[in-house]
């Protein structure tokens, strides 16, 4: 299937606080933009793959969205892999088309936790809440602290990731947070859930994003302007919750990356630009280690020695990522990857051939990898 399927169109709403907008409305805007980008009409869509809104679960969400879109798709479904859902749904869309289940698929996601309820991000964690375990940040902070103790990773290493993301976000007119951050300011920031301060944490955003998936042959037939080939994808999952995870400092990028790189016939050295899920600063640090961009445990020094800025050895999160562009989990990273391969990104890395995109979710429970290329 390598290169046989493409992302034919991408669309995203504004990100930030969008009061009064339902997730249906945000999805419809993003889908309309993606269809316009692909240059195709709505009735051609016969597959609808949706990540349900994180802030509120609704049964039959994909079908309600299909109704709002005036569609009767052959395949319609919601996925629950948290932040890994978007890439997993793109791969599922490609496999569905490959097997004749549908012809042209939309994969989309929208949420409105900023103007609506952000309770999902601060919720008590089951029976452990009696110990004061609340919120999403703590699980990742527990992992970060272990990584620090095990490998000597420092707050300054984490800070390099936040600083780079904010630099890219500052230069991105569409980013939600366009304020640069110095490493000194990062180090001086008051702790939130140590070892994290607020600069280690993803933004909370309203918004929507969508992509159109079809075969490369169909894209030629429909004269799609700038299709981007899907070269590889893969997943990895762990059932163990953080406290029970025997190896707390390895992510599922090991499995999802191996599968995706094998399918693409590529290696980390072939990657020109990476969009790596950065819900918290520790996440891309460990993800790059587990993809094999550096030795296990040396993700911290990698940030400084190799560099993740535009002039670094591995330009990463060129739109600002979840730390600066939008906290919308995952799809915006795919869209930025498409733009980099099209050579149309706001902060374009020269001569991009291959772009690696990672999505992950839960507390590093789920992982999905996508490799896009020319």
């Amino acid at each position: 299937m390598r290169g046989k399927y493409v992302i034919a169109g991408v669309g995203e709403t504004r990100f930030g606080s969008l009061p009064g907008r339902s997730t249906y409305s945000l999805n419809i805007e993003a889908i309309s933009l993606a269809l316009g980008d692909a240059g195709i009409e709505k009735p051609l869509i016969d597959g609808l793959f949706v990540k349900y809104p994180t802030s509120q679960f609704e049964p039959l969400y994909a079908h309600r969205l299909a109704e709002a879109l005036g569609l009767q798709p052959r395949v319609a479904m919601v996925s629950d892999q948290a932040g890994a859902s978007n890439i997993s749904l793109i791969s599922l869309a490609a496999m569905s088309i490959e097997n004749g289940q549908c012809d042209i698929a939309v994969v989309c996601f929208a949420d409105n936790p900023k103007s609506g309820s952000r309770a999902a991000y601060a919720r008590p964690r089951g029976d452990d809440a009696i110990f004061g375990l609340f919120g999403t940040a703590a699980g990742y902070a527990l992992i970060a602290q272990r990584h620090m103790g095990q490998y000597g990773t420092t707050r300054s290493h984490l800070g390099e990731i936040a600083v780079a993301a904010r630099e890219h976000g500052a230069k991105n007119p569409s980013a939600q947070l366009r304020k640069r951050l110095s490493l000194d300011d990062y180090m001086a920031e008051a702790p939130l859930v140590s070892p994290f301060c607020r600069h280690d944490c993803a933004l909370v955003s309203d918004g929507g994003a969508a992509v159109v998936v079809m075969s490369a042959a169909r894209a030629r037939q429909l004269q799609v302007r700038a299709p981007v080939a899907i070269l590889g994808f893969g997943q990895g999952h762990t059932a163990w919750d953080v406290a029970q995870r025997p190896d707390m400092t390895t992510t599922q990028a090991v499995a999802s990356g191996a599968t995706a790189f094998r399918m693409a016939g590529l290696h980390p050295r072939d990657i020109d630009v990476a969009q790596i899920y950065d819900c918290f600063t520790i996440t891309p640090l460990m993800t790059l280690e587990d993809y094999g961009f550096c030795a296990k445990g040396s993700g911290g020094p990698f940030m400084h020695d190799i560099g993740i800025g535009l002039d670094g050895g591995l330009p990463m999160n060129t739109s600002g990522g979840l730390l600066s562009a939008t906290g919308m989990p995952g799809m915006q990273l795919v869209i930025e990857g498409v733009r980099q391969v099209r050579q149309e990104a706001n902060l374009q890395v020269p001569s991009v051939r291959n772009c690696l995109v990672s999505n992950q979710g839960g507390t590093m429970h789920t992982h999905s990898t996508l490799i896009l290329g020319t």
Binding site: G132, F134, G149, V193
Partner: protein, 147 residues
């Protein structure tokens, strides 16, 4: 006006975990051990290794090591507002099972570090007795884990 303190969210007591919480009230930290030898927490009906229901409650020695921890400086819930800053940790019992807990008695001069030895401190919190842990003082001998 009388200040009514918000309560910590209570664990949901079920037929599966009732022994765990009742034992803590009686001063014992228990874990589950399967006939296949696998040991675990939190309480569940089937052994996650062999899937049998042939398990028993066993008493933990209370010896543990610190896997990792965080310090909350922000109250995500009103019940913890007057406890800031507080430490939430993951510990591994000498017998193997892991649990989320708090580290207490942090006037201890030694800073926290991963894998440092800990000792159980069962503390009463309202109607619930909680398994918390303190850094094991140098003089406090490690007990032998049962086998």
């Amino acid at each position: 006006m009388e200040h009514i303190k918000a309560a910590l969210p209570q664990p949901q007591i079920t037929s599966v975990n009732q022994t765990y919480w009742d034992s803590l009230k009686a001063g014992d930290l228990m874990f589950q051990q399967c006939a296949c030898g696998h040991r675990w927490l939190p309480a569940r009906t089937e052994c996650p290794s062999c899937l049998a229901r042939d398990w028993q409650w066993k008493k933990a020695t209370g010896d543990a090591r610190l896997v990792t921890w965080v310090v909350y400086h922000h109250a995500y819930h009103p019940s913890v507002a007057d406890r800031l800053p507080y430490t939430v940790a993951v510990v591994e019992l000498a017998e193997g099972p892991r649990l989320v807990t708090n580290i207490v008695e942090q006037d201890h001069p030694e800073p926290l570090r991963v894998d440092m030895p800990l000792a159980l401190r069962i503390e009463v919190e309202g109607d619930t007795s909680l398994p918390r842990f303190a850094v094991r003082p140098p003089g406090e001998a490690e007990t032998m884990a049962p086998h």
